[in-house]
């Protein structure tokens, strides 16, 4: 057992699951989507990204790329939410944008988990 693998695997999978938790629910209202969950998703995703930094292998680079995609989508979603909340009105369109952005981030997380699992299965140690 490799502690490094445990930690990075933990965060990669946690990023996906929390993101799914935020994404799951009605597509047109924010009542079933908690902002705290979005915050947690962003933080966990950032940590997962940091853990992947500096890995020079092919797999490491692809994992980093998917993580960066998820980060950007989630941060953009949070920014839009904050701007709309304080400066404008959170209408249906904004809600749709926020949720679909997190949906996109979820896909990126999913890819990253699939790659991670695949890499782990391939490994002989």
């Amino acid at each position: 057992m490799n502690l490094d693998k445990v930690i990075s695997g933990f965060f990669i999978i946690l990023a996906m699951t929390i993101n799914f938790g935020f994404f799951y629910g009605d597509m047109d209202s924010l009542e079933t989507h908690s902002k705290y969950e979005l915050m947690a998703a962003i933080i966990i995703n950032l940590i997962a990204t940091t853990l992947k930094l500096g890995d020079k292998t092919q797999m490491g680079s692809v994992l980093l790329a998917t993580s960066l995609v998820a980060d950007i989508q989630l941060i953009v979603a949070a920014t839009i939410w904050a701007i709309a909340h304080y400066a404008f009105v959170v209408d249906k369109e904004i809600v749709a944008i926020i949720i679909s952005l997190s949906g996109g981030a979820f896909l990126a997380n999913l890819i990253s988990v699939i790659l991670y699992v695949g890499d782990t299965l391939k490994s002989k140690r």
């Binding site: 940590i47 940091t50 930094l53 500096g54 020079k56 949070a78």
Partner: protein, 561 residues
């Protein structure tokens, strides 16, 4: 992955990033949990954005104050705690970044990236020079003079800095790396199509051989100039198809042979190497008895040559094993002893000797031997081997008759062979001729041109001589004498003499003016400044070529054929 400096940053910054993320999270979550009050005293829960905003400006020590409402005591306690953890996190991150900028490995990576960029953008022809010292410095200067760019790989960082301080124009990219690693050679552009050659003239023959092997494997079309001081290594290099093998001792031995037999050939060689002009004193070794101090690599070559030319010589050597390896010949003898000793010199007959050659690998010893000899016999001719380039001025003021400069020989040989290959070929072909031929050529050159003619190489191809190339394409016949026609009056001749014609794999010495030119011929001319100019005009300018070829002015507007 190519860009390793970026990866070094990412790898080192991993921990600081993690610390910052975690400390922020802790602080933000605290503010989200703790309840505050607004201006009217109603309970107010900070939103995520409020908390993020407060932590952001507090952690970076900007401190806008308590926003959006004044904090309660519970919030203030949490704020003071979070300041400690977040500010520390920030400082840790910044500190790591700063220490990274001072990190040797990181800086070297950045230098390397810069070097790679320079090589990538290098579009001119260039040569790679391994190791930077006074000798290679001179080679760089000569190459740049001829419009050839250079790239240097040097192991020692201080020496690389010295090179940077030299401020060569155009710049000479330098890479600090092991010279024999294939990686460094690749980065220096061995595989690039415009890399024309590689120079390796280190002291150690084995290192030179290793470099030759590596670079030949990386790019077999590259021209190598490699130093070798023993026959064994020379053979190995020949097996690798190394084009230019610079063996200073064998060059010296051929020079000695010329000085004994055909001093005019040596004079020609010195003229081509720009050491002397053609009217200088003939560098001749008189006949008589010679004393040679030192029987090392150079002594060995002298022995061979003296044996060949039947010269009486007496060797003096201090090391026992070298004395034992000596084969005593009819006129060749050896004495074991210190040549710097007055008694030893007297014993070997310095009083009746015509010349003394001081051939040890120590400059001080060499000078001291000659000083002693000169004192004992003021009429003796002094010949010396100079090892270090730094000592040049001392040797010059010591009034020695003939100096064999190891470093200068190397510079001349390598630069000539790399930058002007035809004149190198010319020297090699000349050395097989005899004294009479040499004397005739020297006389011819002085009478036809002047005492210090310029050398010019011309290749008949589309790039260097477009007009000649086009005319030959249209199946015109052009004679070599076309180049010596004066553009003021084609009936008269310029001061131009073709020295060598290279066609296919063969070279012809002193081709006649009636020789017909082919495409891809390479010609070496001796000429004066004016002649050089007009050769360039004839080969590149439409009108001038037409005049020189037909004797008519070319008409471009009316009566055009």
């Amino acid at each position: 992955m190519k860009n390793s400096s970026l990866f070094i940053i990412l790898q080192r910054m991993r921990k600081p990033f993690l610390v910052i993320t975690i400390t922020y999270t802790i602080a933000i979550i605290g503010f989200l949990i703790i309840q505050g009050v607004d201006n009217e005293g109603n309970p107010y829960q900070l939103t995520i954005f409020d908390a993020f905003y407060f932590v952001t400006y507090t952690a970076s020590t900007i401190g806008f104050g308590e926003l959006p409402f004044e904090f309660t005591y519970a919030q203030r306690i949490w704020a003071s705690m979070s300041i400690y953890i977040t500010v520390l996190g920030w400082f840790y991150g910044i500190g790591t970044l700063v220490s990274l900028l001072q990190d040797k490995i990181f800086l070297r990576e950045i230098e390397k990236a810069k070097f790679k960029r320079q090589i990538k953008n290098l579009k001119d022809k260039f040569i790679i020079i391994l190791g930077y010292n006074q000798i290679t410095n001179e080679i760089i200067n000569r190459a740049l003079e001829q419009g050839l760019r250079t790239v240097v790989i040097e192991k020692d960082e201080n020496k690389a800095n010295e090179l940077i301080l030299e401020n060569f124009t155009p710049t000479v990219p330098v890479l600090v790396a092991d010279v024999h690693s294939s990686h460094a050679l690749k980065e220096a552009g061995v595989k690039k199509i415009n890399c024309k050659g590689l120079v390796s003239i280190f002291e150690q023959d084995t290192l030179n051989l290793r470099i030759a092997l590596t670079s030949k494997l990386l790019n077999k079309n590259i021209k190598l100039a490699i130093k070798s001081t023993t026959t064994n290594h020379t053979e190995n290099l020949k097996d690798l198809d190394v084009e230019i093998i610079a063996n200073p001792f064998s060059i010296i031995s051929s020079e000695i042979s010329m000085a004994l037999n055909a001093p005019n050939l040596l004079k020609l060689e010195k003229w081509i190497y720009k050491l002397d002009n053609l009217s200088a004193k003939v560098p001749v070794f008189p006949s008589g008895k010679y004393i040679i101090c030192g029987y090392g690599r150079m002594g060995h070559h002298i022995y061979e040559k003296f044996k060949e030319h039947d010269v009486e010589a007496h060797f003096v050597e201090i090391k026992k094993n070298k004395v034992e390896a000596f084969i005593v010949g009819e006129k060749l003898t050896i004495t074991k002893g210190n040549a710097d000793d007055k008694d030893v010199l007297l014993k070997v007959g310095v009083l009746e000797a015509t010349a003394i050659i001081s051939a040890t690998n120590n400059d001080t010893t060499n000078l001291s031997i000659l000083a002693t000899a000169k004192k004992l016999n003021p009429k003796i001719m002094t010949i010396v081997r100079e090892n270090e380039m730094d000592d040049f001025s001392i040797f010059k003021s010591a009034k020695i008759d003939h100096i064999f400069m190891m470093s200068r020989i190397l510079i001349n040989k390598t630069t000539n062979a790399l930058i002007s290959p035809l004149s190198d070929k010319f020297i090699r072909m000349c050395s097989k001729k005899d004294e009479q031929w040499g004397a005739m050529l020297v006389k011819d050159l002085i009478s036809k041109i002047d005492e210090n003619p310029l050398l010019m190489e011309l290749k008949i191809d589309k790039k260097n001589a477009p007009e000649i190339f086009n005319a030959l394409e249209n199946s015109n016949e052009i004679k070599l004498e076309l180049f010596s026609r004066s553009l003021y009056n084609r009936e008269q001749n310029n001061n131009v003499m073709p020295l060598l014609l290279k066609r296919g794999g063969k070279s012809y010495l002193l081709p006649s003016g009636d020789e017909l030119i082919n495409i891809n011929d390479e010609i070496l001319f001796a000429c004066d400044e004016n002649g050089k100019n007009e050769i360039e005009y004839i080969s590149e300018n439409l009108y001038e070529f037409h005049y020189a070829y037909t004797g008519e002015e070319r008409r471009t507007i009316f009566f055009r054929k």
